[in-house]
């Protein structure tokens, strides 16, 4: 080999950052711990840039292996890293966005306890994420896959001693394990049939296989199983439930893990396995359908949430749905493109929201933020405001911003790509309208002055609310109308000033990362002009399957026009309901109370899951197993043993022997069944 890129160095740098902080961080001043936590990812990013700068000087895919990792019988897996166009994009996004968010965290976490631990774990997360995207085989990728989940679990739960945070962490972990059942079985099938985990080796054999048209085809089964894993990690239907709860974690964690990187791992994995999916049209259809349904389902929930982070969480779920739609439509390049722009704008949205939350000492309810800052947060935190505007325009698909390019590519590809489908295109377009609505709603409510209050200030003004009630009561009515908490919390009629003065703009260490991401969220889309981005990625997705050509259903210009119209419609509606005519929103709520309540309560999915899965299991454990197999025996025994002193031997002996009889009875029953089976029933 003429050139060694030493790819291993990139994850190892992040691991070093983790190790240093976890071992020594407690003893060092915060400044030192923070610098270590930022410098190592910075070094990793610099190395990633160096690797990118050498592009062209090595053969792609570039693979480096470091000895035998597992070598036992038929199983031989090296420590191997791979760099191709796809992993290069992921590498740059992960280290770049990761670095920016680390810097932001210096400011955001400045007053939190466990500072060094936070940076240690964030670095650990980057380590696993880099393992995931650089691995050259499925097994190492799975290690990274589980590792990021583990780091995310710790970061959600370990910073706040709140029951809800602990529960959210556990929920995320357990839900992901369910997805992993599918993923693991898929991996075993791959190993069984292709005798290895290496991408090169597996995909080479896959390429020799024909396209399958039955549900039972090997590649179809593998594709669906892997996708089940992806629905867990990337929060798709039906396993998305953990992501909204994961917002319990600190906001930079939400930005890095639950928006920009970890949750996109499922998309990366599906795109990486393009060779498999291209030959399994039914698996592709599943991916497309689940992606589209998730996109619209989550977007609709996002319409009415009050908590700004919850809005962003559902938005993330919805946007991930778009990425899967792209994969399902066999235009993986567009999916990865959206993955990248999403990392910019959604990461930024979280950072800006975090800055707003920070300014108001932890307030996450948009309507309460507005109440506390009656003349509009935008006046006090202009940088936060403007960056949030840029990100909102980007995600809403306002022409010219990054999100517009990538989302439009996906929608156009679904309508007239290799696997055209007008229905899913329509679903995606409607969801895009919803996206625009809920994002502008979040923008207007969080940053603009309260329109109802403005009416009160000039009593005869034209925007005077309906009826004669004073303004405070109207605000109340709108709140009660439930933009919309279920229970209306008693709130003071007068806005509360921020503790220690008016809300303030964040320090530069937080605003500069936001500005960087804002530039990317605004301009990042131009990289994809003339399909340059997709052409760059094309070699990875050239899997030897060429779909039949067909006439485009609609020109790209027409599709684009519809997308723009929908985005503007969402903007206009949000403007009408939340700035111009706030009372109209209350009326709309009263017109459709059932629908309103269904959406606000997230269609009661958590409750249904609880009733269908969690509670029966607990019931089974408590009633059936505990009462019958276990405690029916134990309760008596232990109570008796605890109560009666050892001197009253007679009674005790009776108790114990009673137990033993019933235990022996169980063993006897088992024995009879076993013998009966062996001799008679077999």
């Amino acid at each position: 080999m003429t050139l060694s890129l030493h790819l291993w160095l990139i994850p190892v740098l992040c691991f070093l950052g983790f190790a240093l902080n976890i071992l020594g961080g407690r003893r060092w001043p915060r400044r030192v711990a923070g610098w270590i936590g930022v410098l190592f990812p910075a070094a990793a990013f610099a190395d990633a840039l160096y690797v990118a700068s050498r592009w062209g000087s090595f053969a792609v895919p570039y693979i480096e292996t470091h000895g035998a990792w597992i070598l036992a019988g038929p199983l031989s897996v090296p420590f191997g890293f791979q760099l191709d166009q796809l992993s290069l994009v992921m590498l740059l996004v992960v280290t770049g966005v990761g670095l920016v968010i680390h810097v932001y965290s210096l400011g955001y976490m400045a007053h939190e306890g466990g500072f060094y631990r936070f940076f240690a774990l964030m670095n650990l997360f980057l380590f696993f994420m880099l393992l995931l995207v650089l691995a050259n085989n499925f097994l190492l990728m799975f290690i990274g896959w589980e590792g990021v989940g583990f780091a995310s679990y710790i970061l959600i739960g370990f910073f706040f001693h709140r029951d809800s945070a602990a529960a959210a962490g556990s929920k995320a972990f357990v839900t992901n394990r369910i997805g992993d059942v599918g993923f693991l079985i898929g991996l075993f099938l791959i190993f069984q049939h292709f005798h290895g985990f290496d991408f090169t080796r597996v995909f080479a054999q896959v390429r020799a296989m024909p396209v399958e048209h039955a549900w039972t085809g090997l590649l179809t089964v593998i594709g669906i199983l892997l996708f089940i894993g992806a629905t867990g990690k990337s929060a798709q239907l039906p396993l998305y439930v953990w992501l909204p709860d994961a917002m319990e974690g600190p906001t930079p964690v939400s930005a890095l893990i639950h928006a920009a990187t970890m949750v996109t791992a499922g998309v990366y994995m599906v795109a990486r396995s393009a060779a498999i999916y291209d030959r399994a049209p039914l698996a592709l259809s599943v991916v497309l359908a689940v992606g589209a349904l998730t996109a619209i389902f989550a977007a609709s929930i996002g319409l009415l949430q009050r908590d700004i982070k919850k809005v962003l969480a559902y938005s993330t779920i919805s946007q991930l749905g778009y990425m899967f739609m792209a994969c399902g439509a066999m235009v993986y390049g567009a999916g990865i493109f959206h993955l990248m722009t999403h990392a910019f704008f959604k990461g930024l949205l979280f950072l800006a929201a975090g800055s707003a939350i920070h300014a108001l000492a932890g307030e996450q309810d948009m309507f309460r933020i507005r109440e506390r800052v009656p003349d509009g947060l935008k006046k006090y935190a202009p940088i936060t405001f403007w960056t949030f505007v840029v990100a909102t325009c980007s995600i809403a698909g306002i022409p010219g911003f990054a999100g517009f390019f990538s989302k439009d590519k996906i929608l156009y590809a679904v309508l007239s790509g290799p696997r055209p489908n007008a229905w899913w295109w329509a679903v995606g377009t409607i969801a895009a309208g919803m996206t625009s609505f809920y994002m502008f709603r979040a923008l207007f409510v969080t940053f603009w002055p309260d329109p109802a209050r403005r009416g009160a200030a000039s009593a005869d003004g034209p925007v005077r609310p309906t009826g004669q009630e004073p303004a405070g009561a109207v605000t109340h009515a709108i709140d009660a109308a439930g933009f919309g908490a279920g229970p209306v919390l008693p709130q003071p009629a007068h806005p509360q000033p921020h503790e220690g003065g008016p809300p303030h703009e964040a320090p530069a260490v937080m605003t500069i990362p936001m500005i960087i991401l804002a530039v990317l969220a605004a301009l990042g889309g131009y990289i994809g002009i003339n399909d340059r981005f997709e052409k760059f990625l094309a070699p990875v997705f050239a899997t030897g399957v060429t779909p039949a050509p067909h006439a485009a259903a609609m020109g790209e210009g027409a599709v684009m026009a519809i997308s723009i119209a929908v985005a503007l419609a969402g903007f206009a509606l949000a403007w009408y309901f939340y700035l111009a005519r706030p009372e109209a929103a209350a009326r709309a709520k009263h017109a459709l109370p059932k629908l309103w309540s269904a959406i606000y309560n997230k269609y009661w999915v958590d409750e249904v899951y609880g009733a269908v899965f969690t509670r029966p299991l607990a019931w089974f454990s408590r009633v059936v197993l505990w009462r019958i197999v276990d405690a029916g025996v134990i309760d008596g025994a232990v109570a008796a043993v605890g109560g009666i002193s050892r001197s009253t031997g007679g009674g005790l002996r009776k108790q114990i022997s009673g137990n033993i009889r019933s235990y022996a009875g169980w063993i006897g029953v088992g024995a009879v069944v076993a013998i009966f089976y062996m001799l008679v029933a077999r």
């Binding site: 590792g147 370990f158 992993d180 059942v181 069984q192 408590r622 235990y663 069944v673 013998i675």
Partner: protein, 510 residues
Amino acid sequence: MTSAATPLVPAVYYLRILPEIVLTVFGAVIMLIEGPARHVGRGRTTRWVALVGALTAFAAVWIQSRHPGYAFSHLFRVDGFTVFFGFLLTAIATVIILMAMDYLPQQHLDRGEFYALVLFGTVGMGFMAGATELILMFIALEISSISTYILAGYRRHAPKSTEASLKYLLLGSFATAFFLYGIALIYGATGTTQISAIARALAHPSAGAAVQTGQIVLLGAALMFIGLGFKVSAVPFQVWTPDVYEGAPAPVTAFMSAAPKAAAFAIFLRIFTVALAANSHAWFWLLWAAALLSMTVGNVAALLQNNFKRMLAYSSIAQAGYILVAFAALGADGVSAVMFYLAAYAAMNIGAFAVVSHFAHRDERYVDIRNYAGLGFRAPWPAFCLSVFLFSLIGVPLTGGFFGKVYIFRAALHSHLVALTIIGLLNSALAAYYYLRPVVAMYMREAPVLPALAPGAPAGNIEPPIPPTAMSGPIAVVLALCVAVVIWLGVFPGSVLAYALRSARHLLHG
């Protein structure tokens, strides 16, 4: 002429059972020291003797491994399989002795016979691992069982402990009777108690009596299955496990959950995959059902346990279920997966029990999971170790538990046990919930503030937090060792797996 040249018992035979000899000698020495000494804290000398004994036995396994072959008219055989279990069992004994050094003084139970019993029990288990003859297997099983019966009741003043011992003794004897009857029937059917001879006899049945002996063999297999199922706590023969694990002293529970179980699996594998291999179609579904039931019942019942030891007891039932999945997969893949998992399981389970044992305090007062609230900040290192063990039990990558499960389910799928694989993986997803509970308690809950009461008295429903406890040297060594093994098996599983695979081939192909 020949008798002069070749002695009746060649010296190499003694080398082949050297670990057992070493353990017996050290055990006997402990008893001799123990007898005359009458003062409290007598264990102080004997525990070092025991530790040296266990370590010497570990080294002796290495010498044993240099001399493969049969010993004592085909009663015992040294092969890769025997050696694998020999290393595992002596390592477990060493760790348990270290654990007891911390626990026994804390409980005011520091007497030497505890250590002797651990060593004698290990002798029995060592013979179990290498025995190639049913009678020796039975005797070895009894040697190990009797030691554990006594150890389970070692907290003589605690009713729960004596109760555990009595239950274990009575039910254990009941189950052993099945095993013994099974041996008798197999002998009746084949005319031999030699594993390889039984295998030959069953592979080529004499034409005339085929049907008749077939039924007897099947009955014998079922009976042995019941007896061994009891020893490895497979459902439906697991009923004793929660009570006994809860009542026995914590280090003994750790010992029972790892060593006798591993040894019982060794016998189980030798009998069923070698001697009864020809009848695998018959007993396969017994294994299949036991695997499924053990995983499911163990995990679901563990969900709501508050007592840490009881939770780990149910967890160990579930873990036995996973191991049975690999067993049901058969073949070298399955057997090696069983072996690898037993090693990983021993490290993570003993580690978890070591933490529980360390924090139990006098009379095992603090064994409720709620006692662990906030422990992560008051005792960071033990809490960290416990988290590693629990994550390994879940099967998170970079821990031994992960590769253990990977190998098990890979082998299962390879043998087309699709349903069992899916159920097993779903079970391991479910299990994450209860293994996380202690982690949540340690790191995500504050220790409750007790109302001012008499010190140590439980206040209503509030479980008192564990008071600060100094780490003793031995327990620190135990935790460090267990964490090291768990991580090592999780990062570099290859060498152990390769060794297990070779040993499994030895076992299956002679």
